[in-house]
């Protein structure tokens, strides 16, 4: 029974690693590298050893710090509770930490003050791991605060660079407003229920909402939404992902915003158990759909590699929130699967961007080009990531996006609500736009002509390639062997999210949930028929072959091949090879036609992303006000 201690030891190992790094790692690079790898490796092994008891045997680990067990049905200690949902996110977190630590070894070797990088990195890792494993709302708040601090510190790590301090300041202001809302909500909850334990709160609040707890719900929902960077709280995320070191951008998009998503799932499904109220579903689905759309359209307008990826990251979180907000087991499966896939492919893409930055010294798409000849490994990894995020079969993005469409459409059919039809269409359009903008990045950075300036570019070292290859492999494997992922990760996590009474019983003693009349959430459990990605791949290949055959046999229609004339040559393929069309389209403006058509929309959007921190704070407060009003109007 010794494994009940593993979650706490894993969190403590990371924090101890941070402490030891600051004490011992100042002078020796070998020592701090060893400490970082050892701490993240130990955390990974400890969490991996919990896979069998938690995910396969279906046990829920409950752990009271200092053995302060509940007295007379009241939780008095701080509890850690590892259920399948927390375990699912913990696996994502530890994998991200380990891969990012390996990548960092070579990636930051040219920076100064490396020991502080590792201190902040390990503290960030420990706080996110603690957040997904804890069973106490105030402990969750503490972890959120540590996460925000260290994330701000890491954003400003290269503080001589372009705009990184500015991004850090905006992140801190917006992030601390979010934390304050969360804390206010927790304080109201404590005043009402006199407990901070999630399981006991869930037992007390289930179906029993007073105006005070509704206010707490609205505030905590807003606070956690700020941490998951859904629109309109996304503004600091776009800046921070752009200016942070790429290994940290990967951590941000792989686990920091997942922590927010986890918090929202925990909040709506377990703590308040409000997910079966249609108003909450509507709220989350609208937030998700708006996030998807605004994220992807903003990404189309970007000229910077990492800022573009940042907006895609925001957009993909919209998919997760939408799918989770549907409150069907299919939607929850799709949402969690997409959260996992987003960690894999977006982490991979950020690592590729980091490789490009390290090799060329820039992430401006206008100055890049033709890197496929110089950096073949990075190009292959980037293409795998781009195919995954665009949802091409048989990569993992296809599998999860398909589930999201299916779930949204299914919800539309069962409820007859037009909103869900609309959301399905938005999700499809967003996927197409994602593919479009990745065609642009691929063409602008990796294909076409190599600029004169980048003649001496070299491929990144093996230690940086290793995490990229591992993530590429995972992207393909989780797409092809989706049924293993489903059986061992998603089904347990979904049943844990819906099984409120099991969560309460394992923490507070069996029978506690029944005593407080808590019932599990009845998600309309459509048993879904899976797609088969290999069939889609076959169809894809057949269509491709047919298209090639048509092009090759009809000689007359082939246009003249455009000579590579300078910078414009790399876009020749997009003008059908016609020589007569001189293009004045800039390197990253492949979709200028689309942007011109939607000029009004893009002008408004660029005006809204003004860069002034007061405006960003205003969006957060206004959205919080809307959520509060919505909650009081529709949830009572």
């Amino acid at each position: 029974m010794s494994y009940v201690h593993f979650p706490v030891i894993a969190v403590m190992t990371l924090f101890m690693g941070a402490f030891l790094t600051v004490v011992l790692g100042k002078h020796s690079r070998a020592v701090r590298s060893f400490l970082a790898i050892a701490a993240s490796g130990i955390a990974f092994v400890l969490i991996a050893m919990l896979v069998k008891p938690v995910l396969i045997d279906g046990e829920i680990i409950s752990y009271w710090m200092g053995n302060w067990n509940p007295v007379n049905g009241y939780a008095i200690g701080i509890g850690y509770e590892v259920d399948q949902l927390g375990m699912f996110f913990a696996l994502l977190v530890v994998s991200t930490i380990l891969l990012s630590a390996v990548y960092s070894l070579r990636y930051i070797e040219r920076d100064s003050s490396q020991e502080f990088y590792y201190v902040l990195f390990l503290m960030l890792s420990g706080s996110v791991l603690g957040l997904v494993l804890t069973g106490d709302v105030f402990n969750m708040f503490i972890m959120i605060e540590i996460m925000t601090f260290t994330a701000v510190g890491l954003t400003a790590f290269r503080n001589t660079g372009f705009g990184s301090v500015e991004a850090a300041f905006k992140y801190l202001v917006i992030g601390s407003i979010g934390s304050s809302f969360t804390l206010f909500g927790i304080a109201i909850l404590y005043g009402q229920c006199h407990t901070l334990n999630m399981a006991q709160l869930s037992a007390m609040l289930s179906g029993n909402h007073s105006p005070a707890t509704l206010m707490a719900f609205a505030l905590m929902f807003t606070g956690l939404a700020v941490k998951s960077y859904i629109v309109p709280f996304h503004t600091p995320a776009a800046d921070a992902y752009t200016t942070a070191p790429s290994s940290i951008s990967m951590v941000f998009s792989g686990m920091v915003n997942k922590a927010g998503v986890y918090g929202i799932i925990r909040l709506v499904y377990i703590i308040f158990r409000t997910m079966d109220i249609p108003a909450v579903q509507t709220l989350m689905v609208i937030f998700g759909a708006v996030t998807m759309f605004i994220g992807v359209t903003m990404a189309l307008a970007q000229h910077d590699f990492k800022r573009l990826l940042a907006f895609h990251s925001i957009s993909q979180i919209g998919y997760v929130i939408t799918a989770v907000g549907l409150c069907t087991s299919l939607g929850l499966t799709g949402g969690l699967f997409h959260a996992m896939n987003h960690t894999l492919f977006k982490g991979l893409l950020f690592l590729c961007a980091g490789a490009v930055l390290r090799a060329t010294g820039t992430t401006n798409l206008d100055q890049l080009g033709g890197l496929s000849k110089k950096m073949p490994a990075t190009t292959v990894c980037f293409l795998i990531g781009a195919f995954s995020i665009s949802g091409l079969p048989p990569f993992n993005g296809f599998a999860s996006k398909w589930l999201v469409y299916q779930a949204a459409y299914d919800k539309a059919v069962t409820t007859g609500n037009f909103l869900y039809v609309f959301v399905t269409i938005v999700a499809l359009i967003v996927s197409v736009m994602t593919l479009a903008s990745f065609i642009k990045v691929t063409q602008a950075a990796f294909f076409g002509q190599l600029p004169e300036r980048l003649k001496d570019v070299e491929e990144v070292p093996f230690l940086m390639q290793l995490p990229m290859w591992i993530m590429s492999a995972l992207c393909v494997l989780s797409g092809v062997f989706y049924n293993f992922v489903d059986k061992y990760l998603l089904v347990p996590a979904v049943s844990a999210a819906l099984g409120v009474s099991r969560y309460i019983d394992s923490m507070m003693g069996s029978g506690y949930a029944a005593e407080k009349c808590v019932t599990d959430i009845q998600a309309s459990g459509v048993h879904f028929s899976y797609w088969n990605p290999m069939v889609w791949l076959a169809l894809f290949v057949i269509v491709l072959c047919a298209a090639c055959l048509c092009i090759l046999t009809s000689k007359g229609s082939r246009g003249e091949i455009l000579e590579g004339d300078g910078e414009d040559g790399k876009y020749a393929t997009f003008f059908s090879g016609e020589k007569a069309l001189p293009s004045h389209v800039g390197g990253s403006d492949l979709f200028w036609g689309f942007k011109t058509d939607w000029k009004g929309y893009f002008n408004i959007m660029e005006g809204l992303h003004s860069g002034v921190v007061n405006d960003y704070a205003l969006y957060v407060v206004a959205a919080a006000a809307i959520v509060v009003v919505f909650t009081f109007m529709f949830m009572r």
Binding site: F138, I142, E145, F149, V152, G153, A156, N159, F162, G163, V165, E166, A167, A168, F169, K170, L172, V173, S176, I177, S180, L183, F184, A187, I188, Y190, G191, H194, L196, A238, D239, T242, T243, A301, E606, H609, S610, G611, V612, V613, N614, A617, L618, V621
Partner: protein, 116 residues
């Protein structure tokens, strides 16, 4: 009985948010963040107050079921929250110093290299 405290704390939070939204000076924005924290701290410590209760310091023999004391948990939470608030302010101010060195201004409407 704690109504005045609750109203005061909400007023403090709203004033703090108002400061963050309307003031262009970065130092004032940081002060606004501080005021939000103080409002919330006041709220938390007020939720644990029992009128006429004693300090929550007992040993096991003195602790009987009729003992009437203020709730110690919110006080612990408030202390934690105060520490966190102080850290936020210190970190934000250090970032403001860095920003001033890079941009030669503390006006939020001029610190906008990252936009669009």
């Amino acid at each position: 009985m704690m109504l005045v405290n609750y109203i005061a704390s909400v007023i403090l939070v709203v004033l703090g948010l108002y400061t963050i939204i309307t003031k262009k000076n970065l130092i004032k924005i940081v002060l606004g963040m501080g005021i939000v924290d103080y409002g919330i701290n006041l709220f938390i410590v007020s939720t644990g107050y029992n009128d006429g209760g004693t300090a929550p310091i007992y040993n096991m023999t003195e602790l009987v079921s009729g003992a009437y004391f203020v709730d110690p948990v919110p006080q612990a939470l408030t202390l934690t929250s105060i520490v966190i608030g102080a850290c936020v302010d210190a970190m934000a101010l250090s970032l403001v110093i860095k920003l001033y060195r890079q941009y030669k201004t503390v006006d939020a409407s001029e610190i906008r290299r990252l936009r669009g």
